[in-house]
Amino acid sequence: MDFTLSDEQRALTEMVEQFTEAEITPNAKDWDEQHHFPIATLRKAADLGLAAMYVKPELGGSGLSRLEAALVFEKLAMGCVSTTAYLSIHNMVTWMIGHYGSSTLHEKYLSHLASMQWTASYCLTESNAGSDAASLITSARRDGDCYIINGAKAFISGATQSHVYAVMVRTGELGPKGISCILVDKDTPGLSFGKLEQKLGWHSQPTAMVFFENCRVPISQLLGVENSGFSIALTALNGGRVNIAACSLGGASACLKASLAYVQERSQFGKNLSQFQHIQFTLATMATQLDAARLMVYRAAAAIDNQDTPLVTQCAMAKKFATDVCFEIANQALQLHGGYGYLKDYPIERFLRDLRVHQILEGTNEIMQTIIAKRLLEA
């Protein structure tokens, strides 16, 4: 087992760190306050190869491994968790098109998605199909060489801004075996959006419902084969879980870094906070938890790269552990900052708000436990 990064991996994390400090960190507060979707900055990131990270180079991607992508997301999230999380969703859909799409779809989408001239969203959840995703009812009916899509998707990250939506629809029997994945363009007649959701965090990207009313889409927009959509959705989600967990690592690292600086400059009772043993122990625990989470996330990412058999379990464990622990680290950081941590003048409360949703999305942490337990009991 080798825990050292290669020269290239170190070089790319350093580059992303510099990019984050120059382009993201100074703006994240404004994006949060103004609910601004920073497409110009995202396009700068895309220009560096960050929008199609694990798509093969021959398809116009950067050809990175999942582990390398996780390292990148972690660094970016140190600046802004919400923007990075959106970029990770975009990367996931771009990968889905690269991996499962026909050459016609590659031609139509990949270069635009790699440059982020177009952006992408993932549509699985419905109002009544959240954790029980296989019960989804949005339907696609064949009509000649088209599908006619009807239904509604809920909690769609990037909705209203994204140009293409990877939508899980029912094309066959009830349950997971009757689902297909179809790409729907934003300008398709019959596609519309609900009002923008008012959220606790993730303010730099819009969330809304997406409605489909007799949406006519050519059958060439189908990803993979008909009725294989649920397995595409779950495979993509394994990566999505690692990505979101990596975003949590970045948020927690930023909180720890801010706390280390704060306790060394703040004095009470005549000495720096850093000289109190309770503060030292808190910092040590935060750093240890962060490192443990990091190891789990990196291992899960490597498991996808190597297609190791327990990858589903490892991705679920990493997602649950990292998102729980990193939220707790942000919470501890807020406590260390005292009253100041509660103010928007300091970045901690933004990280706390942005990190909270990671325990819910890409499969709630309770569903992660269901996944883990199911495989434990099967063995």
């Binding site: 020269d7 290239e8 170190r10 070089a11 790319l12 350093e14 580059m15 510099q18 990019f19 220009d47 560096l48 190869g49 960050l50 990270m53 180079p57 950067s62 050809g63 990175l64 990148v72």
Partner: protein, 249 residues
Amino acid sequence: MKILVAVKRVIDPYAKIRVNADQTGIETHNVKLSMNPFDEIALEEALRLKEQGLASEIIVISIGPIQAQETLRQGLALGADRAILIQTDQDLEPLVIAQLLNRISLREAPQLIILGKQAIDNDANQTGQMLAALLNWPQATFASKVTIDQQRVTVEREIDGGLQTLAFDLPGIITTDLRLNTPRFAKLPNIMKAKSKPLEIIASETLGIDLTPRLTTLSIKPPPIRPKGILVHSVDELIDKLRFEAKVI
């Protein structure tokens, strides 16, 4: 046109600088090292000249320990075509550096050499000038704007009184100031590909230059910690303190 760009591996400008325990130098253990910022600007300028079709090849060169390969790889990831490392574990003085660069210049025959005006570690600001003297080439230091028309190079440079414009015919030497350009970030695929570009390692002793330092560093001390400020209650008290304590009036 072939351009040679010299890059130095230095302590990262944002790292915390600490004097080592025996006060003989700066602590470099567990400290982040990166490309000297002025050299990043030098490389960026070379890359822009190549993009304008004015340069055919960019060679990045560094003199330092084997780890300086990382800095050269960064240069390759940014777009340099090949790299040369003159390997040494010794701390070399500017004249020796200039002599080593002179050797490589004679071999590679670049038409233009671009260097950072100084390295942010010891701030010598001498290598470019000395190299120009050794090569007997014209030099334009502290460049804030570079234009090339055929063989004619025009350089705007920052001086105390404002801007000065110099012109010379190639070959020549430019050293770069902070406001010349803003360096780009390396693209991910180029970082991954940098390893496949050529990087030649030359042992410093093989170039026939006397590497012995002429200067001896006696000790290095951190500046004294600034004492706390005081509040004065009247102008008279201020004048009194300036005259008798600070002794500046």
